[in-house]
């Protein structure tokens, strides 16, 4: 399980990278889906920005679309992926 500090850092980076000006860290639930209704409501362009975010801040490349669906499902899944793959 990834640390709470990593998840909070990730939320801050997502808010900044995606210009989510009306969203606060506490608005994003760790396990809620990032895309579609019922979550943060991100779109396909945001998905590309998340790929850039992982490369820019964590030097991780997500190139497999199927893997991307799982990695970017929620803050929990993103943080777990970073923990698992960080050097």
């Amino acid at each position: 399980m990834a640390s709470a500090a990593l998840k909070e850092q990730l939320k801050k980076q997502i808010i900044e990278q995606l210009n989510l000006e009306e969203v606060k860290v506490e608005d994003i639930e760790d396990s809620a889906p990032l895309f579609g209704e019922g979550g943060a409501g991100l779109d396909s362009i945001d998905a590309l920005e998340l790929i850039v975010l992982l490369e820019k801040h964590y030097q991780l490349n997500v190139t497999n679309p199927e893997e991307g669906k799982q990695v970017f499902y929620s803050i929990d899944t993103m943080a777990d992926y970073i923990e698992k793959h960080k050097a």
Binding site: I45, D46, K56
Partner: protein, 201 residues
């Protein structure tokens, strides 16, 4: 008597709606967010738009505030969009270039705005206006373009056409106006009205 067109004008002095100053702009780009908030519009995608799209979005929202017929047109193909400027999307093009020369990584969200007609797409999506739309680039404000192509759009089924001139790279120089058949039936009068919209606040 010369007709008037509902209009909204952005200059370095501020934002004018039908000639009346509604907002003062000292730091143009930063203050657009405050204008958006004051309009009490709930559309979070505004924050992600590039500068030209933000100005176009706000211009049309302000036009809807003074043109009730335009505000009522929803979910139909009867509103056309006819835009132009002198700089295409160069303001965003440069930002996109900076994003990959500075960080080594191109920004996808900037890339999607590296076409000038995206500003019209944002307005069409927001208002569900699915009529014809056209964007052209001219050295200066071209009243004849708006009068002549506006008439073609009206002839082809549009009931109203929203015109927009949107330069944002140096200082704000934008004008938004509503064109309808009564305004455009006399070309000379239409040119006079359009030039007044652009030259006056």
């Amino acid at each position: 008597m010369i007709r008037k067109a509902s209009c909204c004008r952005f200059t370095s002095e501020g934002i004018f709606v039908n000639g009346e100053k509604r907002f003062t702009l000292n730091h143009f780009e930063e203050e657009l967010t405050e204008v958006y908030r004051q309009l009490s519009v709930e559309y979070p995608k505004f924050y992600k738009m590039d500068l030209m799209s933000k100005v176009s979005f706000l211009g049309v929202e302000l036009l809807k505030g003074v043109d009730s017929e335009l505000a009522l047109h929803r979910e139909d193909e009867e509103v056309g969009l006819l835009f132009a400027n002198s700089e295409s999307s160069s303001q965003t093009d440069l930002r996109f270039e900076e994003s990959y020369t500075r960080d080594g990584l191109p920004s996808p969200s900037l890339f999607v705005y590296t076409l000038p007609n995206i500003a019209m797409g944002e307005i069409a999506i927001r208002n569900k206006w699915y009529g014809a739309h056209m964007f052209s680039v001219f050295p200066n404000f071209a009243a004849a373009y708006f009068a002549d192509y506006g008439r073609l759009m009206l002839k082809d089924g549009a009931k109203r056409v929203v015109g927009g001139w949107v330069d944002v790279r140096e200082q704000p120089d934008a004008a938004f106006f509503v064109l309808d058949s009564s305004l455009l039936e006399n070309r000379e009068e239409a040119l006079q009205v359009l030039n007044q919209v652009y030259s006056n606040h």
